[in-house]
């Protein structure tokens, strides 16, 4: 019979008309990200960083700027302290190659995703901001964080020992 195919299709759509929608209203309800989510607020542990600039060399876009000075007692095993450590996240594509490059596990991806700014300059993460930011490291390329990274709350901030290696 002509039109039967149309009716069959309508029987599918009408079933959905009475179901709960599977979408959520964003600013009110937020979906949970996965532990490995690669996002904002790079986590940087200054004590571990030796200023080797592996991350800057590995970055495909060259958006990490590092300036170091000699300081024998600055950190574990290193001879350099950092004056400048800027990440221009306006151009960052969150590929996490810098995290992969870091030989001392000093740099981690973050798990946040809301960091809008009115200016391009506001998107550059400066060294002080990295020092003072809440440390919520993502589990990407750091499998030891797999369980912890799923349990972050607003207040979470891990110290270097908790973050592990």
């Amino acid at each position: 019979m002509y039109g039967l195919g149309l009716l069959k299709g309508l029987s599918v759509t009408i079933r959905y008309a009475f179901k709960k929608p599977f979408t959520v209203q964003y600013p009110e309800t937020k979906l949970k990200t996965q532990p490995r989510y690669r996002g904002y607020e790079f986590v940087w542990y200054e004590d571990r960083c030796t200023g080797c600039a592996s991350c800057a060399k590995y970055c495909p876009l060259g958006i990490i700027k590092i300036v170091t000075k000699r300081a024998p007692e600055a950190n574990i095993g290193g001879k350099y302290a950092l004056d400048i450590f800027d990440i221009d996240t306006g151009r960052c594509m969150f590929c996490a190659l810098c995290v992969e490059a870091c030989p001392y596990d000093a740099l981690f991806m973050g798990v946040n995703y809301e960091r809008a700014s009115y200016t391009r300059g506001g998107l550059v993460v400066h060294i002080d901001e990295l020092r003072n930011a809440k440390k919520m490291p993502s589990a990407f390329l750091r499998p030891n964080l797999e369980v912890q990274a799923g349990k972050y709350t607003e207040e979470s901030s891990l110290n270097p020992n908790e973050a592990g290696r």
């Binding site: 029987s11 599918v12 599977f22 490995r36 989510y37 495909p60 590929c95 996490a96 992969e100």
Partner: protein, 367 residues
């Protein structure tokens, strides 16, 4: 007195919602009938091939994400397969299984978008599109679980994958595999016998096997014309020679067949994923390679069956940390060359539908 008529040239695009990006068609119309068509592209050119010449082999992976952005994992796979060919290494067993699972998930995601936007162009506004996005969303969640990103994955590495699967992934994947066959049945019930769909697509833009081969098409567009050519079968890479699956073939090569082939490929991809989940070995996922790879002098061409067709990377190495030349054989670009043969003689309304049925991605066409 007869009315004098003359053909008129109309530019469709570049900013037209049904061109799936920025693509322009210069079409010559006689009334409503198409008498000539000239595709114009290059609006999204980013110089990927040239950029690759000054990036290291690891950094190029981030560039491949941006080719066919609906199936980034397949692009990653094609690139790393080519570099591994150049180096003469093979990824560990477990890594190969993971790669195949991810590539097939991407095939499902890409075909869902392809079908959804094709039906959107046809006039079935939003309903099938939303249903298919719902399923794709689950695949993106799986990918986020594995590599922390939803579109630009950069997950695979030369000699394996960047990270092993997380512990909760297998359960989530199994749940998806159990749920998805019902969804495909639903799509079929919704669309397969729909009289409007059939009258708009059956017998429209018939592409003969001969023309398809002469234009060196690949992927579902070629297979819908009745040519049995799938790189997973004819030149198996990774572990595809161990897997049992069928390659769906169309009968006539019209628009309806292209729709059916894509729908059937969803099922076959699911079959492959189920087999991989069953046989997945335990072990290493990444070879120990230096951070800066220096392949020996020479060249290599590696190709995979991406959702849209044969995706190939031709790499020339001069022994340094960056390739001397990287050529990308993008399936969407080559599939577009048959657009003129397919549409001349049909009407304007058919043009949009036929273009949707080729399922191109402009990120890949312009590179």
């Amino acid at each position: 007195m007869p009315i004098k008529t003359s053909p008129i040239i109309v530019n469709i695009g570049p900013h037209h919602p049904s061109t799936h990006g920025v693509f322009r068609m210069r079409v010559m119309f006689d009334g409503e009938n198409i008498i000539d068509l000239e595709p114009v592209f290059g609006y999204l050119h980013r110089g990927t091939e040239k950029l690759a010449e000054e990036r290291t082999y690891a950094q190029i992976i981030t560039l491949t994400d941006r080719l066919d952005y609906l199936a980034s994992m397949s692009n990653n796979l094609a690139y790393v397969v080519s570099v591994e060919k150049l180096l003469g290494v093979k990824a560990p067993e477990r890594a190969m299984y993971i790669r195949v699972i991810m590539a097939e998930l991407m095939r499902i995601a890409s075909h869902l978008i392809g079908l959804g936007s094709f039906l959107n162009d046809l006039g079935a506004l939003a309903t099938p599109w939303m249903y298919m996005f719902r399923e794709r969303e689950k695949i993106l969640d799986l990918c986020e679980m594995v590599c922390g990103a939803r579109i630009t994955y950069s997950y695979m590495r030369v000699g394996g994958v960047s990270m092993d699967l997380p512990p909760e992934f297998m359960g989530a994947l199994r749940q998806f595999c159990d749920d998805f066959p019902h969804r495909i049945d639903e799509y079929e019930k919704l669309l397969r016998e729909n009289e409007i769909l059939i009258s708009r697509t059956k017998g429209v833009a018939v592409l003969s096997a001969e023309t398809a081969k002469n234009n060196s098409l690949s992927g579902p567009v070629l297979r819908a014309s009745g040519v049995n050519w799938d790189l997973r079968k004819s030149d198996p890479y990774e572990i595809y020679d161990r897997l049992d699956f069928e390659v769906p073939i169309g009968q006539t090569g019209d628009t309806y067949d292209r729709f059916l082939v894509r729908l059937e490929e969803l099922r076959q991809s699911l079959k492959i994923i189920n087999q991989c989940v069953k046989d997945m070995p335990i072990g290493e996922t990444r070879l120990k390679l230096p951070a800066l790879i220096r392949p020996p002098k020479g060249d290599a061409y590696g190709h995979v069956e991406a959702p849209k067709g044969e995706l190939g990377f031709y790499i020339v190495s001069d022994g340094t940390i960056a390739p001397y030349r990287l050529k990308i054989r993008a399936p969407s670009f080559i599939n577009l060359t048959a657009l003129r043969e397919m549409t001349v003689g049909y009407k304007l309304a058919d043009l949009i539908v036929v273009f949707g049925s080729i399922d191109v991605n402009m990120g890949e066409v312009d590179r």
